[in-house]
Subunit: 335 residues, 2 copies
């Protein structure tokens, strides 16, 4: 497959221009381009430029608004609600960050309920941003049915990622972001596009039979990681995003969505914790470094997210390779 | 193996008397007996009477105090800290429940940091108690190294359970409680005692080789559920219980513990959420029931915790069967 090398600045410009050409205002296009560039920078290509056609389609169909400004309300002393007014997640998350951090620092723990938001990227970005502000944080979001429940054979859960981050002094935060699906749906889509087989245990056919063919899995259902335990986590995420926030659980998002290829409307829950407010007799961050050092003392181990940071160091110098077919598609969409 | 049928009242009395005989005061013995009886009632035998010898050993060695009263401090508007003063978790959790619920109802979300506590039971009990008060809640605790990290081969993580609960009107709450180990350590100990083999993927020998022999796993290491994703959750729990609370991470608990067979000192983090404070335009609980109904509409599915509730209905009438060898041991300890 023919690929073209792009600098990260060029990736940003491509994404920004395409979003502007499709009706985004400057703030939304900036936030979207930052998000896609960060994904490409860390080699999470499934959340990078690969998403542009979906973003463009959802602007074209009118499902998502590219020119709206998120608003924030305080619902309770430690509960903030951000209404994205059917805009994209990146601007919503940029807007949510500081008020949530302030509320968590003041109270110890606080939550941000994002509603009417269209999320099409990774959760590690918002968690990394909060962790860089010195906060431990969780993020949860649902999607549309893609994953079979334990014992079932039809899609019910979204891929339902959860992310968690812990701040580190003088280092990038420790952040993991993992689908409760055995594999991220974007990765399955890329495997389908590139003609790769999937590992066993990732999904089933529409008749409920195990398969390693990504196209069969996209027509059938994905499975959760770790069997019924992953399914419990997927159910927890449905509850935290649907009934808790008053937003769509995955099965509801599907019925509301126009299937234009862009992100469905949904919710996202962020919980931020100020580790300096929990009574550590010494320094919680130094204590965590002892934990990390002890873990890394075992040969073969590494911290979650470490590979992303290694990729980052590389791509900031070398740029990234993008399939020419995708660049052609983006040029067409930006014309 | 010879077994004796006991009513739940008799289970309670056996546990209470044994704890009193070993130096507990009335409040601690009551809370411990309630906890062990609830475990037997739901057929979670690994946290029932099976734990009595360990509790007794830790009183005898002086590691745990059976006559202390937990105290609570407010560290921040939504952070409460319970110091168990080296007492057992059951009385600490009974004491923590109401202040945490009040703080969560007032603020929307709140945390309880339990420190200097000795936890030897399941987390679903405290989460069920909070959910019965109308709160969604998380619990996290660590232990002593038993589980190898992703890529490693030596015990580092505790079995590190997390639990989550959601309240249901007119029904028992939905509660799951799962070790980030592929299997609860208590279950491995029971398999060793009863001579059963373990499923594949549960553990490795002390040389890092896969095994299904529970004794080899107890000498070697357990594995996390779901590979590296379960390991991320195990690491998150270490951070939330150790560095966040200023308590022992699993690797530290091991060095402090006297290995008397009872529970090591550690911490536990509870987070409680009031679902009525998150801006649901209608009723979050009714919304959750729609989600559950849709899930259960798929043949073969059930909600987490359902088996426990079925056991409960049965054992409340029929009692439970306890190995005679364990009853003899308890009689000896109570003499």
């Amino acid at each position: 497959m023919s690929e073209i090398n792009l600098s990260l600045d060029k990736v940003y410009q491509l994404a920004y221009d395409c979003m502007i050409a499709n009706g985004c205002d400057h703030d939304n296009a900036t936030a979207l381009a930052e998000t896609m560039t960060a994904a490409e920078r860390d080699c999470c290509h499934a959340h990078g430029l690969f998403r542009l056609p979906g973003y463009a389609a959802s602007l074209k169909s009118g499902k998502v608004k590219g020119d709206v400004k998120p608003t924030i309300k305080q619902l309770a002393p430690t509960v903030l609600q951000l209404d994205a007014h059917n805009g994209y997640a990146p601007l919503a998350l940029k807007t949510a960050k500081q008020p949530l951090a302030d509320c968590a620092r003041q109270n110890g723990i606080a939550a941000m309920a994002l509603i009417r938001v269209h999320h099409f990227a990774a959760l590690w970005m918002e968690i990394e941003a909060l962790a860089e502000m010195g906060l431990a944080a969780f993020a949860f979001t649902a999607y549309k049915p893609a994953v079979a429940p334990a014992g079932g054979s039809k899609p019910f859960f979204g891929t339902n990622p959860m992310a968690f981050g812990w701040p580190r002094k003088d280092k990038s935060p420790m952040v993991f972001d993992q689908a409760s699906a055995a594999m991220a749906r974007g990765e399955v889509m890329i495997a389908a596009r590139e003609g790769h087989q999937l590992p066993e245990g990732v999904g089933i056919t529409k008749d409920g039979k195990p398969t390693t063919d990504p196209n069969e899995v996209l027509e059938g259902a994905m499975l959760t990681f770790g069997g019924y335990k992953g399914a419990s986590i997927a159910l927890m995420i449905e509850l935290l995003v649907g009934p808790l926030l008053g937003e769509a659980a995955s099965f509801e998002a599907a019925t509301r969505d126009n299937n234009d290829g862009g992100p469905p409307q949904g919710g996202e829950l962020l919980i931020a914790i100020d580790p300096t407010k929990f009574g550590h007799p010494d320094d919680p961050f130094a204590h965590a470094e002892q934990l990390f050092a002890e873990l890394l003392d075992q040969p073969g181990t590494r911290l979650p997210g470490e590979r992303r940071h290694q990729n980052r160091e590389k791509t900031e110098i070398e740029g990234i390779n993008v399939p020419k077919s995708l660049i052609d598609k983006i040029s067409e969409l930006s014309a």
